[in-house]
Amino acid sequence: MPKWTDAGENTILDCFLKGATRPSFYLGLYTAPTSEPAEDIQLTGLTEPSGGGYARIQLQDADWSLAGSIATHVQKTFSCSGAAWGNVYGWFICNVASGTSGNVFAVGQFTDGPYNVPDGGSVKATAKVTAS
């Protein structure tokens, strides 16, 4: 099951109890670490695919569906074009479109991964988060 990071938990409380402005959410993939990132993970601790058309994808509010305490986003497809990405181990949600200056809010390690993504391949990721 995906999990919130420390920054994600802090942001949840900040939005819910203090009315802080909600951040934008971007979905990305990581090729390292190879095991599930710890809750204190930051963007500098994640390695993303390099080149091959890779870019984070912005998540839209309307694309989330809530059922009880679980929120699921519509599936997003990352298409690899021009160069292989190699092994992809999971996805993350952060608040910046690129770079490492933002915060990682949640991470999800592929339970049946890694996916070895060749040139022309793709990765389909369904972001899912829970509050409990």
């Binding site: 802090n10 409380l13 819910f16 109890l17 509050a131």
Partner: protein, 133 residues
Amino acid sequence: MSIAKWLNEGENRVLNILLGAQPVDGTLWLGLYKNTEEPAETVTLADMNEPAGFGYARKALTRGYWTIIDDYALYLEQTFLAQGGAWGNIYGYFICTVQSGTSGKLLALEHLDSPLNIEDGKGIKVVPKITCA
């Protein structure tokens, strides 16, 4: 006291607000309850047995007064005073979205290790604390 637990209605509301499906609540409300057993996560306001009369009323928790430290949030200490009669045993506190009645959402609660018997003229001090982990 330690820390309150989220209830199903609270978890759902957190996600709705975080993900933009509804606006944040301007004020939350703190109440006391007399249910002897710790309520399950499925509990709603209609299930809560609150003190009746003798000065009892839920207290407003205003957004700006929460202190957030890492993955938990604290609110300023709140004092409930029984005046004119006893409330009897208080078993815990809850946080909800409405000042009174049962039409709102019950977000979180903390069940005390042992009840506090609140007699006429006595009070109970509550420091609301909730985590996200």
